[in-house]
């Protein structure tokens, strides 16, 4: 399949039908290495459906989703199970936070390490030196990740007791624990105040630099989208109506029409 040389995710002609409803229609999409790409659009445009299509929750009706792994191999991932997609290196967060509420913050991040560790039932029962070493590594790495998102002081607090902003950051830490090459953030700033949004933006920039990941985010906060992203895709009614740099997109009459409506001469 053809895609730009440094792409990490290439989507060609993806459509998704729910019965007679066409939620996505021939979407072409690309995320390149080290990029922050934003996906915006009015409510119901199909942004989250698109996310679900590329993370294996839905199998697209038509089209190709190809991931380019860190080792340069290409992998067709439409129809692949969610956990395999995550194992390949595409980790996501959820629009309505989905942490493990009765587990501690540290344990939530430790779950992210699951697919990068090996220990099985027998190892767990015998608890040999190898197992213990692996466990300790999981704990230490997870704690470091909590530190990165500024949550080390609540490591032993239940996830459900954390404030909203902290829960959002914890979800990002959990996703990072799976060692992704592409981080998918579904409305990370939803429900945050301007100060928190600003901090989140700084954090995403920091993470991209430090972990060498590409970021794909769905977001409604235009200020954040415009200042953070390298490129933007705009969706409406399941189609990509515009794409380009923030400046290009915000000048596109199609985008303005989608957001503000058309002037009609009555």
């Amino acid at each position: 399949m053809e895609h730009t040389k440094n792409a990490v995710l290439a989507v060609r002609g993806v459509s998704m039908n729910f019965g007679g409803l066409r939620a996505l229609s021939e979407v072409d999409f690309e995320v390149r290495k080290g990029e922050v790409v934003a996906l915006i659009g009015p409510n119901g445009a199909g942004k989250t459906t698109f996310f679900n299509c590329i993370t294996g929750i839905y199998t697209p009706t038509e089209g190709e989703v190809v991931a380019v792994l860190r080792n340069g191999k290409e992998k067709r991932i439409n129809g692949m199970r969610t956990n395999h997609v995550c194992e390949l290196g595409m980790a996501r967060t959820f629009q309505n936070i989905r942490l493990f509420p009765s587990m501690t913050a540290l344990e939530n991040v430790m779950i992210g390490r699951h697919c990068r560790t090996k220990e099985g039932i027998l190892g767990a029962i015998l608890r040999g030196s190898k197992t213990r070493r692996e466990e300790q590594q999981v704990v230490d790495t997870s704690y470091q990740l909590l530190k990165k998102v500024g949550l080390e002081h609540v490591a032993n607090e239940y996830a459900k007791n954390l404030p909203y902003g902290a829960q959002r950051r914890l979800e990002i830490a959990r996703a990072l624990a799976t060692e992704p090459f592409l981080l998918l953030l579904d409305e990370p700033a939803a429900g945050m105040n301007p100060q928190e949004t600003l901090e989140l933006k700084e954090m995403v920039i920091q993470i991209r630099k430090e972990f060498d990941v590409s970021v794909l985010l769905i977001e409604h906060d235009m200020k954040m989208v415009m200042s953070l992203s390298d490129r933007i895709y705009v969706m409406e009614y399941g189609r990509v109506i515009s794409t380009g740099t923030p400046a290009e997109v915000s000048a596109d009459p199609q985008v303005i029409r989608a957001y503000l409506g058309e002037e009609t001469d009555a």
């Binding site: 969610t82 989905r98 587990m103 430790m110 992210g112 032993n156 607090e157 959990r174 799976t178």
Partner: protein, 406 residues
Amino acid sequence: MAALTIATNLKKSAIAALWLAFLTMPVMVIRVDTVENTIVWRWMHLVYMLGGSFVLALIWHFMMDRRDRGAAVRESADGEAEGRLSRFVNNPRVLKPMLAFGFIVAAAFPWVFSMYQTNILISALIYVVLGLGLNITVGLAGLLDLGYVAFYAVGAYAYALLNHHFHLGFWTVLPMAAILGSFFGILLGFPVLRLRGDYLAIVTLGFGQIVKLVLENWNDFSYGPSGISNISRPGLFGINYSVENATTYIYYIMLGLVILAIVTTARLKDSRVGRAWLALREDEIACQAMGIDNTRAKLMAFSLGATLAATMGAVFAAKTTFINPASFTFMESAMILAIVVLGGMGSVLGVILGAFLLILLPEYMRAFSEYRMLLFGATMIVVMVFRPEGLIKARRKVYKINTETL
């Protein structure tokens, strides 16, 4: 303030007592003597009813108040606060001597007490392991299994039939029963992978019934309701014991298996696999999105739980030397589930305590055997209201963090 709550409590209790007395009056007070065609009015019963329900209602309100006040205090602390019982039991300075003491008592038990007592304790130990097994499926992985007793039956019939037809000994069959159990666990696991909650409960309930019905009706295979008798007791290097010695022997086998089960489940709980189960219980979609293979985790939980149950089935058959399908009814599944829920879902110590309470108390309170189900129900309600997380709350491991190495 306190006086006010007492006054309202008194008022509430009085109203409750009056209502109950009024509602039960036709049954409790009026008695029609059909021989002499007279009606006897037993007014004293009304007074008992009034007095009794008033006192009970008062106690209830008092306890509820206390609970609500306790909850308020707990929430304002840090959410980590545990009950007094859990804290007491989990304190290492209490736990260690208690374990040592318990072990000595357990080791000396058959020499001090009668065979009857030893037999009761063996049943209790069997239920401890059954509880621990179901705790993996229900308590850790959150898969409500109402047909758990089916795996117990699989183990029991595996030993009984292999012994009957091929004269295989206990020690040969024990691992075979375990493997067969895990196989049946996976067999049940596959069709229910997509189900959760109530739907899963119904299918597993059905599975339990199917196994029981097959055993009851497939006469050529399982000898139907008349069961299989003369199953050999476990032997050691061909030595055959007297009944009394065999009981002692089985007791020690059981003790060993219990310790094995405790170590296994406790270690699994705090491992990578155990964490995956917890995550599965908390949120299936997020769990899979974080790279955990849900299918694998679920099948592992089912088959491990089933392995323990089947192992216990073989021990049960060897202990009673006779089995029939009547030992594997839904009542048993409900009992094991009650042990897990009452003891504390996910808590190893809680399950052990729950098994001892629910198996030993009915044994030693035979005087009240007519009211057993009544007391059982009342206990469950009280526990669920005052300790929804079970007698001993599952404790989260505290991880030691090496900050220097990084």
